[in-house]
């Protein structure tokens, strides 16, 4: 397959064949990650610049490790030590960094659209590592990889996405990816969080949460931002937990059911602590799949991606 994209900006840009292609590669890297020592320096001589302008633990470390396992030189850049303070425009900062001959920019920014904006004027591959409320495509791809490794198929599967769909770039990217791959997606949670956009993304809104859960093989819980409480989206964390949290996973006879969460988990809010630890939980496996997916994305863009 010929890879036609130069960047990975969002799941909306990928068709089913392209997603399948990345997942196939990522699957190989997932196996590879169980080895020790593990090193696959196919990207030696290439440079990755992590431009994280919004706090992040797991995503930055995951991208950094992915790049390094592939043999890339990885340089971290965050706002603190930056000349952004000196009043230089963000655009000029990024152009400057690009002129230092980075091959890939991994960008996280609190504003929607920043990675796409950058991709227009820098001569590097851009990977969106999360932009505002918009997209988080490598999270969606890692979720898809986790699901595919658990079930082996997407078509015929129902995924329930529970929680703050409205404010979640994770949900937006995931729903887009799942629908592209032929899964059925139901969203649920507090009605204030169910976005009118859910339907336009191809998901169905189902109330109450129990009903959405009952229909699904994959229960995907979103993280609740506690600051939404003050904004009036839900009354209290306690009530959120009571009405919208997952406290048990009723078994469908003979059928496999799994629980996923993008992390970090608010234990006892979105989900009971015992369920996080249960057999059905793929939450930790998602993390390792994340590393595999990022390796696949970086390798594909750098070695096969369209050049400027």
């Amino acid at each position: 397959m010929k890879w036609v994209h130069r960047h990975l900006l969002g799941m909306r840009d990928l068709n089913a064949r392209e997603i399948g292609y990345l997942l196939d590669k990522a699957d190989g890297y997932r196996e590879f990650l169980d080895l020790a020592p593990k090193r696959k320096p196919v990207l030696e001589g290439y440079c990755q610049l992590n431009l994280f302008l919004e706090a992040s633990t797991r995503t930055r470390v995951s991208f950094e490790m992915a790049g390094k396992l592939l043999g890339m030189e990885v340089v971290n850049f965050s706002t603190n030590a930056s000349s952004l303070r000196k009043g230089e425009s963000f655009r000029d900062t990024v152009r400057t960094l690009a002129r230092m001959k980075a091959d890939v920019f991994v960008v996280r920014h609190q504003s929607s659209g920043v990675p796409e904006y950058l991709s227009r004027f820098i001569p590097c591959h851009v990977v969106n590592a999360g932009d505002g409320l918009r997209e988080h495509p490598t999270q969606a791809l890692l979720d898809l990889l986790t699901i595919r490794r658990a079930f082996g198929y997407f078509s015929g599967l129902t995924v329930a996405v529970i929680g703050d769909v409205l404010h979640s770039r994770v949900a937006r990217s995931l729903i887009t990816g799942l629908v592209t791959m032929g899964s059925r997606v139901v969203v649920s949670g507090p009605p204030t969080f169910a976005p009118p956009a859910a339907a336009s993304l191809g998901a169905e809104v189902v109330f109450p949460v129990e009903e959405a859960v009952a229909q699904a093989e994959v229960i995907y819980l979103l993280r609740i931002q506690r600051e939404r409480q003050d904004a009036g989206f839900f009354p209290t964390v306690k009530e959120y937990s009571r009405f919208f949290g997952l406290h048990r996973l009723p078994l469908k006879d003979g059928e496999k059911r799994v629980i996923m969460h993008p992390g970090p988990v608010n234990r006892g809010v979105e989900i009971d602590s015992s369920l996080v630890e249960s057999e059905a939980s793929l939450i930790e496996e998602q993390v390792t799949c994340g590393l595999a997916v990022r390796m696949a994305v970086l390798e594909t863009l750098v070695l096969e991606g369209r050049v400027a």
Copy 2:
């Protein structure tokens, strides 16, 4: 020798043969460090994660350089950019990082016992880089290496540990290691700092400082935390210096005597500046031995350590 440990949590876990085994290896690395270029990529394909949740210069840089000289991929993680702020439990953060397939976690934390706690649930090797008031085993090993390279033996040697033994994880680990290796340890300093525990660790309490110094071939000065003054442990820095600081090193006839300090030194408080610079001072050599010891520890755990 078969290495039976999975982690390095404290000196109390190591017997004399094990300490000797690490020091033998470290001695080789110490020689190696005088070369340029210097590279020994025996840990290529392995990943080290530095999890420093307490400020540190020398220890973090030393571990980072040790890992890199061995060919490891090293990723730094500190609290600042972390999702610890987002309210995720520390346990979940660490489990997540472990699932990114790090092979070694190097952990510094202000609370005693954190590295041991982590070691129970993550499938990686854990190296304690200092936990609260408890242990700092690589510091003790580097002190032992420095002493062994200076004297060639432990048994028959008296080491005077002067200062805030009570609050010092460095002292705790060092005394444990020295006693295990057969040295005699005397502790001295302000009586408020001489821990009742000193005896249980195998050291003798000797007053005044001059008497402890007179008995020892190795004078090991601990750093004074100025904040202890406000807590009433000693009246003023000036008086500390006058009564407990080292101002001269009386020579025993024909005998070698050395001065050590874990750094950073408060010149003019624990020790006069001229003594830091004197022939007897091994303070800078301790730093290089630290790099060698950390290389030895990382190599041993990763290549020979028990797996989960």
Copy 3:
């Protein structure tokens, strides 16, 4: 040519042959940087420590990337996580870091003379990455490389340096380098900014700005620090722009004229935004030349530099 220096502290230490030697090497690296993949691990097994005690984006990233492309292990050290807070003397901190067997220290510090001070007592090569108001030699070398690649010669060329020459280490190093290479330098800008020292560096002061610009093939604009306004050096940013900013570049018939700026640019203050984007602007090329120059400097010092 035999390289006789151990450090790179300032342009005042280099003669024309030495500058030419570095530029020749840097020119090769500049070509190399257009390759992908690009890797030249001639410094494998050497360690670079970036000691940046003043905020910096481009310079730190540029040095980090330069070192990594040459195969060095690069460790970043900045004040935040440091024991400087613990009251250790800066001298002791640096000596400690040096004893971790770094081969090169890249130092930025807000006080003039710090790199030179360090170079007296640490057994490593020191590269000045900017010290106070004094020197920024790799910036000057990258400017020289950019100019040489654009014109092919220095002698017979006039360079106009416009702006806050008084407070600019960039200007100081650049003027010194240009004069050494045989170019004519004119400085202009607000009279409060024209240093009495300009003449002693070998530059001529020319008013008004238009006249200086008219005489030069290279227009080099310095960054205005807005905090100088409060200090009374110029009335307002708006007036600065009106009287001293570059708004158009009159073409000399048949002659090549270029615009340079060390960045970050205050668009609309020192220079109109359209000129930054114009054909005449070498501002982005300067950034890539910076990477090439740093590779050349690091390679030369480590492989050919005088040892302690």
